[in-house]
């Protein structure tokens, strides 16, 4: 049965669960540590063997009743490597400090967790266990190498070079994180009100009152958009949507900056065949069979590649453009399970 790594609140995962239920397909999910979760590896017995003269390799996974469990194929939707799946609450009394003991536990469990991900990934799978985030500058370089146009980009910790870049780009540049954006945070003032901390891409139209000292940071030219394009790459196909971000003032620089109840208009979109071919080459190079890719279509008819999110949200594109990607993912998982069973029998 399919095993799905995700997070408790990830809308697209739940839509795929719905479709798996629709098809009466069993599945197991790992959504990180929480009490309501019906699957953690702690309730499984896992045995992996390898080596010796016979070089025989095997992986056995059994449930609470010691019945074999077949956990293939795997969908690494949002594998949460930060959580610690093997430790629970336990009393600890020792003069060896608890934090050091916890560190030792985490290190050991991480090695096993990574190895298990590596083993599960060797079978039919969707997404990637090891790739939950990509190195943005490397991806930009690779995208260019595979024929995509990228915005003029600067990575620097020099204010002088930043000023020069700013002037060269008509005094309009953007600052965005070189890595992922910060994790959202709610700071409660009282029971009803809170401050929501988050990060979006920002437009800089002046460098006055900006930091003079900073770590190496990413800057890009500001591109006047006609619209944005969000492409969901799944199983070698591109499902694209034109996102009309320029209609709403809030979403002009960053489409994530939308107000609740103010929907951004989406339309199904077909990218140029050359661009789709470049995406395919890039994703094959990265060994990714799933990713959400953002483009800008500029007012001067250029397509600029922005980034790939290997665990990105795709529900908006699927729903508004009627692509049925949740259904396709569920069918992919069922089909690959059947294929595997036909060719090599049980895996537990």
């Amino acid at each position: 049965m399919p095993l799905i790594f995700s997070q408790e609140i990830d809308f697209p995962t739940n839509r795929v669960f719905d479709w798996l239920s629709f098809y009466d397909a069993d599945y197991q999910k790992y959504t990180g540590l929480n009490l309501e979760d019906d699957f953690t590896f702690n309730d499984k017995k896992i045995t992996i063997s390898l080596g010796g003269l016979s070089k025989k390799k095997s992986i056995k996974i059994k449930d609470k009743n010691l019945d074999p469990v077949n956990l293939f194929p795997v969908w690494f939707r949002r594998p949460n490597k930060v959580s610690n799946p093997f430790t629970g609450d336990f009393e600890y009394e020792s003069t060896y400090p608890r934090n050091l003991f916890n560190y030792a536990l985490k290190q050991r469990n991480t090695i096993f967790w990574d190895y298990l991900g590596y083993k599960l990934e060797s079978n039919n799978h969707l997404g990637s266990f090891k790739t939950t985030g990509l190195n943005k500058p490397i991806i930009l370089e690779l995208a260019q190498q595979f024929g995509l146009t990228i915005p003029s980009t600067l990575i620097t910790n020099s204010k002088d070079d930043l000023k020069l870049f700013f002037e060269t780009n008509n005094n309009r540049i953007i600052t965005k994180s070189i890595e992922e954006i910060i994790i959202d945070h709610k700071h409660y003032i009282n029971d009803e009100e809170y401050h929501h901390f988050y990060q979006i891409t920002n437009l800089l139209e002046s460098l006055d009152n900006t930091p003079s000292k900073f770590a190496p940071s990413l800057f890009q030219e500001y591109i006047d958009k006609e619209y944005e394009i969000r492409t969901v790459f799944f199983n070698d196909k591109c499902y694209s949507a034109a996102v009309f971000t320029q209609i709403n003032e809030n979403t002009k620089v960053d489409m994530r900056n939308r107000m609740a109840n103010h929907f951004t208009r989406y339309m199904p979109y077909k990218l140029d065949a050359k661009i789709e071919a470049s995406i395919l080459k890039l994703m094959n190079h990265l060994e990714l069979n799933f990713g959400v890719i953002d483009f800008i279509k500029s007012i001067d008819d250029q397509y600029y590649f922005l980034e790939i999110n290997p665990v990105g949200q795709y529900g908006d594109v699927s729903l508004y453009c009627n692509y049925g990607i949740h259904k396709k993912i569920a069918e992919f998982l069922i089909k690959n399970e059947n294929k595997k069973q036909k060719t090599s029998g049980k895996h537990s």
Partner: protein, 65 residues
């Protein structure tokens, strides 16, 4: 993770170890939407066909007891 009670503060120092973008963290004051109101709101979209399958038994977002 949630924090409470302390006065909210976004004061990022200028430092060679802190990247430029982290000086642009956004903070917006919001009101918590009561869960029941949220359900009513979602039902409104559900009625419009914009969200089609929020309350299916298998979804682990809402469980109607």
């Amino acid at each position: 993770m949630k924090t409470k009670n302390k006065k909210p503060q976004v004061s990022i120092p200028e430092n060679e170890a802190i990247s430029f973008d982290l000086h642009y963290i956004t903070s917006v004051q919001k009101k918590e939407i009561p869960r029941e109101d949220f359900k009513v709101e979602m039902n409104r979209y559900y009625g419009k066909g914009m969200i089609m399958d929020f309350y299916k038994n298998n979804s682990n977002i809402f469980h109607d007891e």
